[in-house]
Symmetry: C2
Subunit: 146 residues, 2 copies
């Protein structure tokens, strides 16, 4: 799971450059979000961090995640029926979400990149970001419900 080791180091460097510190708790958050690229909520990140640092407070996770968000190194995905999930890849990209087990995965769809530009042109908006999500039932959950 060392896929995004390089970006992990970049984020750490940027953290320091912005006058922030690299604490063990922060390192643990970065590992699970930026390096392992899991799409977790704060409670789930908290569980991961507590495995290594049992004294950790939930507030610390919230603070860390907000620092990363403000630096633009992490993206927040808010939902109506659930708490927010965080993505270590801050560039907008489509997601596929199982409404049963709540798993979130990235998907590649080629034609989509052109869309924001077209909307900007047609509507006169200055497009900053976008959000493409598909909600459904993943293969595993389809099986277990039968």
């Amino acid at each position: 799971m060392n896929e995004h080791q390089t970006r992990l180091e970049e984020v750490i460097a940027k953290l320091r450059a912005n006058g922030h510190r690299l604490t063990p708790q922060r390192m643990a958050v970065l590992k699970v979000l930026v390096r392992d690229r899991e799409h977790l909520n704060v409670e789930q990140i908290y569980e991961h961090v507590k495995a290594d640092f049992p004294m950790t407070s939930l507030a610390t996770i919230y603070k860390t995640v907000n620092v990363l968000k403000e630096m633009g190194e992490v993206m927040e995905l808010g939902f109506h029926d659930d708490c927010a999930r965080f993505d270590g890849n801050p560039c907008p990209h489509p997601h596929l979400i199982c409404i049963n087990c709540k798993k979130i995965m990235d998907i590649d769809i080629d034609d989509l990149d052109e869309l924001p530009r077209e909307v900007a042109r047609r509507k006169g908006y200055q497009i900053i970001s976008h959000r493409f999500e598909f909600y459904g039932i993943c293969p595993r959950c389809q099986e277990t419900s039968n």
Copy 2:
């Protein structure tokens, strides 16, 4: 602003068919959401309803909106940095959102309807719904910031 008068009447009929009642407060909520198709949050709906019925409680708006949501006649759009907005058109459709003035408008994009089916085929998911949103700055807000 009588664009969606027919659907307003359909929703009222369905409300009654489901054993619900049509109260003046509910009628006011339906008018602003289903007939006028504004994309409002609960507080904004509350203000509209209070104009006609000053005694209305915020809790009533929440309850009404939840009844409509459970009946599938209204769609909820949750955001990370703001409270939920409601859309009187429950069929998934793309939105264009100004991050400055928070205005939400519907947009037409032809090619998008095929996408959920393609994702379903490629990933083995049973796609139930989707969400396409573009975030940017509307022409009016671009002017005022200069």
